[in-house]
Amino acid sequence: MEKQQTDPMATVEGLSGKASAALGRRVFMRYIGATAAAGVALSACHSELVDPTATGSARPGDAIDLGDIGSKDVNVLNYAYALEQLEAAFYTQAVMTPYSGITDAERQILTDIRDHEIVHRDLFKAALASAAIPGLTPDFSSINFNSRASVLGTARVFENIGVSAYNGAGQYIRTPDYLVLAGKIVSVEARHASIIATLLEPMSALFAGDQVVFPASGLEEIRNPEEVLAIVRPYVKEFLNGRNGRR
């Protein structure tokens, strides 16, 4: 049990030493370059992590195929990376163009969540390196960023989707360290979901409502990749495709 207290990927030689030595504080562009090298070391240690298709940036209209989500860990990581990209972009926009009447408390919550999602996104990008899918182009035309209800309502959708996606995909992860890492992230997404719902309806049960937690079992809803991708597809200009996992 105690070993789970240690960092989940600390045993991946090469990533820790080279990356942390190479990574300068607040030098984001340099970070992107350095972690690409770190990711090569990572993939060298995990033969499953092979480059599926893509690097670089996508263009609107491109199809991005995440593959069979359960067939290898790199596909699960890219699936998570896609969702985190979307969340990070959404909160970045929400904080940059705050809705009218936003309170200081709400602004702080959205800023915190933005930062958490950026951290998640960049961690996956670094870990995947050359195996990463391209950067996605968000399509937030259906969201009214000047409307509290629209922003918080969309946030609730994204967080609930994120939790159900991680929970559904956990069983496909083959590398224990990645499962622990996914576990570290999913509970933070659940915390986000709870607080966003609380902002929407402060004194209700919506933070863990019967729509997302089955009342009879106390279990949170899970979704398979095809369901998740169908829900998020309208928010991405590329065509995100992926198939349900097989172990």
Binding site: D122, I173, V188, L219
Partner: protein, 238 residues
């Protein structure tokens, strides 16, 4: 029917929210004799007994939980009681009995059922510990994917509870560094970690340690969890 197809069926039913009983039946037959999985489930059951009883007693205590807070206390109690029922039926005769609890922890929290602030504080302690405890067991369930999935489905619910309780206490829903907000430090030690995947993300991203630490919840092992929960367990009754 092969084990895999049983589980796939099961998973579908669980997704539909109607599979708890079926899950329990199959689990009982298949895994209750596998000591490692059963041990994990009994560990989870012990923690769920603790949480369920805590909320049941809190809701029953006169003039304790204000009416504004009752809807979410009731929702949490409903979930914790459901978790107990699910794990108990899953384990069948292998299920551990409910311990005898002392929520004052030998008098340290003597007003737990008369002072709502003490009550909220303990609720936060139990929920944040529960999140860390489930997370710490995930890799021990990898051999049983359907059970791992169920454990994950409980884990995120505990995180939802934790955030809600923290919010009522004026805390952020997420854990900043290892801030214990007046609770025993052991509940939060390790949460200050900012190194993931071997990379110090503060250095890498130029994002503060506070934000990076909030972005990840850290696991706890069984012995650490029992060190936290132990003072509330008077007798294990087995």
């Amino acid at each position: 029917m092969s084990r895999r197809s049983v589980f796939q069926n099961l998973l579908k039913k669980t997704v539909a929210g109607a599979g708890a009983a079926a899950f329990a039946g199959v689990l009982n037959k298949t895994y209750a004799q596998t000591s490692s999985v059963a041990d994990v489930l009994n560990y989870a059951l012990t923690l769920e007994y603790l949480e369920a009883e805590f909320y049941n007693l809190s809701l029953a205590a006169p003039n304790l939980i204000p009416s504004a807070a009752r809807p979410y206390y009731e929702q949490i109690a409903k979930h914790e009681n459901a978790h107990v029922a699910l794990l108990k039926s899953a384990l069948g005769s292998a299920a551990v009995p409910k311990p005898t609890f002392d929520f004052t922890a030998g008098g340290a929290f003597g007003n737990v059922f008369t002072n709502v602030d003490t009550n909220y504080a303990l609720a936060q302690a139990f929920e944040d510990t529960g999140v860390r405890a489930y997370k710490g067991q995930a890799t021990n369930l990898m051999s049983a994917p359907a059970i791992l999935t169920v454990a994950l489905q409980i884990h995120s619910v505990e995180a939802r509870h934790a955030a809600r309780i923290r919010y009522i206490r004026g805390q952020k829903g997420w854990i900043t560094n290892a801030d214990a907000s007046g609770l025993p430090q052991a509940i939060y030690s390790g949460e200050e970690n900012v190194t993931q995947g071997g990379v110090n993300l503060v250095n890498a991203l130029g994002i503060s340690a506070a934000r990076v630490s909030e972005a990840f919840d850290e696991p706890l092992g069984m012995s650490e969890v029992f060190a936290i929960a132990g003072p509330f367990i008077k007798s294990l009754n087995r």
